[in-house]
Structures are given as C-alpha cells and as structure tokens.
C-alpha cells in the first residue's frame, strides 16, 4: 500500500526524515515515534503535499511526486490538530468535505449520515461543533477522513487529548475501520503501547530514522512463554527450585523470572513450543507432589521488543516498568538492538489460554 525508498526530508535546520525505506501492506499499521520524530512530515509527503528532499515514495502504487491528486482521491487524512469550524454542524461540515472529495451532492449527504453513525455520532451531529467534547471532535475528524470511502486513511495522532476510555473507543473504532470497512490504516502515535492492540504492523521511527518495522503478531503471538507457579511442600521446601531441577533433568531449559535476584524467582518460565509441553509440565509437577498454582501462556509485550539487551539480563521485570513502557512507548535506547523474542523476559500481562 505504501512503499518508500531512501526517503529523506530536510528542513533548513532539521532533518525530519533520514533515508527511510519502508514497505507497508494492507491492514492497520502504526507509525510510532517521539515528538518531532517525523511522523507528520511522513504523512504530508505521502499525501503528495510536500516534496521529499531525496528518495521516492508510492502510495497505492502511485508515485507521490507525480500522482498526488490521484492519491488524495483515494486516501483519507485526519490531521493531528483541530480543524473544525465551531459554527457549523458536523453534518454540514462532513457533507461539504465529502463534496470536496468529489462525491455528488446526494451521495455526499447519504454517506455523511452513514459515516457519522459509524463513528458514533447521533443526535448531536446537527448541533454546531463548537460545543462538542474532544472525543466527539475526534470522531468528526475521523468521519471526514472516511466519508468518501477511501482505500487507505492516514490518522495523525487520533487518540490525542482523549481520556483512557475515549482512547480505547477510538482504538476500537480504528480497528473496525479495517475489519468492518475494509479500509487500510496508517495511524501515528507516540505511545507504542496503545498501538500494540490495534495494529497488525508497527513501524518505529526516531529522529527521522527507521528504528524497527515489524508485525505485531511476530511478537505477541508466535512466541509464547509458559509461566508456571507451584506451591512448596514438606518434601520440597523450595518447590520452584525443585521443579526447575526436575525439568532441567528431563532436558527442558527454564528461565528465572526473578532475573537471579534472591527470593524473586517464584515463577518458572519455559518456551511452550507445542501442546505436549503443558502435559509434560503438569506430569512433572504431579510427580514431585507439588500443587500447581497456575500455568499460563504469556504474550510478549510489544514494548519489550525494543528493549535493550542490557536490560533483559539485568533487572527484574515488574509492573512499574511496564507501565512506563505503556506510557512513553518509546524505545529506551534508540540505538539498541531489538531483543530476540525467545530471550525477552515476558510481560506481566497475560494473554492467550490460561489453564
């Protein structure tokens, strides 16, 4: 859907994009980066509104340098800033924008009604937009980007200014734009965490450079880790240690969730390559006469994919750290190598089957 080749954009004082090469397919793609990373600049170039200093880019197979008009007919754009005149109603505004996209008057009205309903605006759509909440404004901004049924939409920080509930609703809506409407999405955010759930693919840029481009499923689904917690018994005062030893003796390598810190390792981690591992662990626990407190599959939190190698082997993972990742969502060390998923400590967040 989108391909860039060594794309650069230099302003007199800053380099906003630095030789970025990307290939983005259909689906929901997140473009993540800190403030000033070059996300909005990238969207402007993809819309054919701002020429690249160097390199090429194409959207829907059309060259942005020469076919801007055709591209803009088929894509939608939701800007990051406010763009709604306060004295007209959402309906009037979106109808006008639909006509600006080339829809005949009757179609513009019909699609406006449909689209506003899809984004969750009902009675209030006849009222002047000046009185809308931030959440409602964001919905109107989304509606004007979708009203002409584009093949692809660019959403620039759609969750900006929303409270946690509004944010979740917006993210669900974005997901539906793809699953229900069949429209591919490029959505930007400076929060890596929030895009994990919504996106099929995440591209991380920093200072205009590509840091990482990867499928979210690569990290969140294909590599599952099994976390096992057992009770202690009279026979085995250190149940966890005993299980670890027993599994080790049977050729299963385990990791220590505690990162080797004393008293921290109450959970045994191992790679669950297939279903048989579950039975194997259950049997081992039973043989030792321990109680199985829980055994659960953990998904990797996307944030850790970008963690540095140093951290993986160092500190104990804890909730606080993950909360931080959720909020800043940026790689801790932009130059750090992404971790290999299998050696990444798991997030406290659980997912998938619980047994």
């Amino acid at each position: 859907m989108i391909a860039t080749e060594s794309l650069s954009k230099r302003f007199p004082k800053v380099t906003a994009l630095d030789r970025l090469t990307l290939d983005i397919g259909a689906g929901v793609t997140g473009l993540v980066g800190a403030n000033g990373a070059g996300k909005s600049t990238m969207i402007k170039i993809l819309l054919g509104l701002s020429p690249a200093t160097e390199g090429t880019a194409s959207v829907l197979g059309l060259d942005v340098a020469t076919s801007g008009g055709q591209i803009r007919e088929r894509v939608g754009y939701m800007p990051e800033h406010d763009c709604l005149p306060p004295d007209v109603s959402a309906t009037e505004f979106v109808v006008h924008m639909a006509r600006m996209s080339g829809l005949p008057p009757a179609a513009a009205r019909e699609r406006t009604a449909d689209t506003l309903r899809h984004v969750g605006l009902y009675e209030e759509r006849y009222r002047p937009m000046g009185g809308y909440s931030t959440g409602m404004k964001q919905r109107v901004k989304l509606a004007q980007a979708l009203v002409h049924d584009p093949q692809l939409v660019f959403l620039d920080e759609p969750t900006n200014g929303l409270d946690p509930v509004g944010r979740d609703e917006m993210l669900d809506l974005i997901r539906r734009v793809h699953t229900d409407f069949g429209i591919s999405v490029l959505v930007t955010s400076h929060l890596l965490g929030e895009l994990e759930r919504t996106c099929d693919h995440v591209v991380v840029i920093d200072g205009g450079k590509l840091l990482r481009s990867s499928s979210t499923t690569d990290f969140t689904q294909t590599t599952t880790t099994l976390a096992v917690e057992v009770t202690d018994s009279d026979e085995h005062p250190d149940g966890t240690g005993a299980l670890r030893a027993a599994l080790g003796a049977r050729g299963v390598t385990t990791q220590d969730d505690g990162g080797g810190l004393p008293g921290a390792g109450h959970i045994v981690l191992l790679d669950a390559a297939d279903e048989a591992v579950y039975d194997f662990v259950r049997d081992t626990v039973a043989d030792l006469g321990l109680g199985l407190v829980r055994m659960e599959q953990r998904r990797h939190h996307i944030a850790e994919v970008f963690r540095t190698g140093h951290e993986q082997h160092g500190q104990r993972e804890n909730h606080e750290q993950h909360e931080q990742h959720g909020h800043h969502g940026q790689p801790e060390n932009p130059s750090g190598r992404p971790a290999a998923p299998t050696t990444t400590p798991p997030a406290p967040q659980t997912g998938g089957a619980q047994r």
């Binding site: 259909a26 800007p79 996209s101 069949g182």
Partner: protein, 305 residues
C-alpha cells in the same frame, strides 16, 4: 488493496461486530474530481458570502447591506416612472461610486469570513488533503468573492435598467449605459475582491481583517480625494489630479470608466484621465487583480499543511 481486503467490504465481515453494526456500505458511485470540487467550493463560498447555508445571524448583515445597496435604485426608478422623467437621476456608471461606502462595509464583513475562517480554524489542510489543489482553492474563493460583489453592485443597475424601460426612456441609450455600467462593476468586483481577500488572508483574526479592509479602502480614498481637492484648488493642477487617482481602488475604477466607459468623472473639477492616462489606469487595475491572485497563491503555499 491486495488479496485480503476487498472481501472485507462484503462477505468477509461475518463476525459479531458486523451484526451490531448496521453494516458499512462501500461507495461505488462517481467521484467527480477536482473541477467539481472547485465548483462546489465556489458555490458554497458564494452562498456563504450572503449567509446562505449558515446561521440566521450570519445572514443579517449581508442581507441588510444588499437591501441598502438596492433601495436608492428602487426609489430613483419609482420617481422616474411617477414623474415621467426623460432620464434617470444617476448614470449607471456612477451608482457604485456613490454607494462605495456600502460596498466597503460589505467587503469588510464578508471577505474575512470567506477566507480567514478556514485559516483560523485550520480547515485549509483538509481541503489540500483532497484532490483539490492550491490553485483551485484560490480561484474558487476569488471567484466567489468577486461574484458576490458583482451581485451586490449589478443588481441595482438591473433595477435601474428595468425601471428605465418601464419609464419608456430611450432604449439604445439606456442599454448602452447599462452595459457600460455592468463592465465597470465587473471590473470593480474583481479589483475589490482581490484587495480585500489578500488583506483578509494575511490575518486569520476576523476582527483585524474587518478593520484592515475598511482602513485600506477608506484611508486610501480619503487621502487621494483630499490631495486631489488641494491640487485642484491651488492652481487647478488637473494633471496632478489625474495621476493621483491611481492610488485608491475606487478612484482607479472611476478613472477607467471615465476614460473608456463614457462616465463623467467624480474627480474634483470633473476632469478625469484622458484616454492615454486611462490606459495606465486600466493596466494598474489589471496588475492589481493579477497581483492579488499571486499574493493569495503565495499565502496558501505557506498555509498548506
């Protein structure tokens, strides 16, 4: 969109969310493109210049001014018909000059609303993210403002002309005068629209726009006519009077119509520019119109996204 997505429009969406949702309908109808979008923007802006399609409050001022602009024409016509006069009390070309204050007020109120709203509320990027280009936007706005002014200035001329025919005044003479009047107000509309739009587009603040438009129109006219009067009084320097007229929009139009459209000059002494100086007037008018177009194009290059 490749293999996996098109079915999403139809068959693919059989999941639960599809049921709650009345279903997304795709749009397969025509997409009319740039020219249509430009025309739509033009008509929306033109209607907006009279408050149509907007709140009742925004109709008040333009409609009142429109009424004020037409009222004298109606009265003149009524008088001419009733008294069986042999000519109308004013020339067609003189009408707009007499009512220039009304035109100025209308422009000051409507030019900022035509362009600066989009700038102030940052709606401009939404236009430029669509097939429409900067040229289309500028042309649509320019044409809308000029058309709105033409409606304001030509309607009373139509009233006068119809009245003149009802009063059975000389047909060829009236028709010629009416045609000259229309050409003159067309030129006036282009010139005034261009100047007022450039002033308004520079400031996204509506209040500043209004004040600046009024200031430019009245101060320039005030200064020019005062200096002209002084030049005329002191030694009847009519060459100076001729050239001074170049420095305000309304005297420019007055000069052009005196030189080419059979108008009587409203300059002190009643002596307008000669045909050769008139060429300069015409060139200046055209240069100002073109210049404001170029200035607007530049303004929106920056306003892009």
């Amino acid at each position: 969109m490749t293999a996996e997505t098109p079915p999403a429009h139809g068959a693919h969406g059989a999941d639960a969310s599809r049921i709650h949702n009345i279903g997304y309908r795709t749009y397969d109808g025509p997409r009319l493109g740039r020219a249509y979008a430009t025309r739509s923007l033009y008509s929306q802006s033109l209607r907006g210049a009279y408050g149509l399609g907007r709140s009742a409050k925004s109709k008040v001022l333009p409609m009142i001014l429109f009424g004020v602009m037409c009222a004298p024409a109606l009265i003149m016509v009524a008088v001419a018909v009733a008294t069986k006069a042999d000519k109308l009390p004013v020339d067609y070309t003189r009408y707009a000059v007499l009512l220039q204050a009304v035109i100025g007020l209308y422009l000051a109120a409507q030019a900022p609303q035509t362009v600066s709203r989009d700038l102030r509320f940052k709606t401009v990027p939404l236009y430029f993210s669509r097939p429409i280009e900067r040229v289309d936007y500028v042309r649509a706005k320019f044409a809308a403002m000029a058309s709105a002014l033409f409606i304001l200035t030509a309607t009373p001329l139509i009233v006068l002309y119809v009245g003149a025919l009802l009063a059975k005044l000389d047909f060829p003479e009236q028709t010629k005068g009416f045609a000259q009047g229309l050409v003159s107000v067309a030129l006036l509309s282009l010139l005034f629209a261009g100047i007022a739009l450039v002033i308004s587009a520079v400031t996204p603040r509506r209040g500043f726009g209004i004040a600046a438009v009024i200031a430019v129109l009245t101060i320039s006219y005030g200064a020019v006519s005062t200096v002209q009067a002084i030049a005329h009084e002191q030694g009847g320097n009519d060459t100076a009077v001729q050239w001074l007229g170049l420095f305000s929009p309304i005297t420019l139009i007055d000069g052009v119509q005196t030189a080419f459209l059979g108008a009587t000059s409203s300059f002190p002494g009643g002596e307008g520019p000669s045909a050769s100086v008139g060429v300069v007037y015409l060139l200046v008018v055209l240069a100002l119109v073109a210049g404001s177009y170029v200035a607007l194009m530049r303004r929106y290059r920056k306003a892009g996204l």
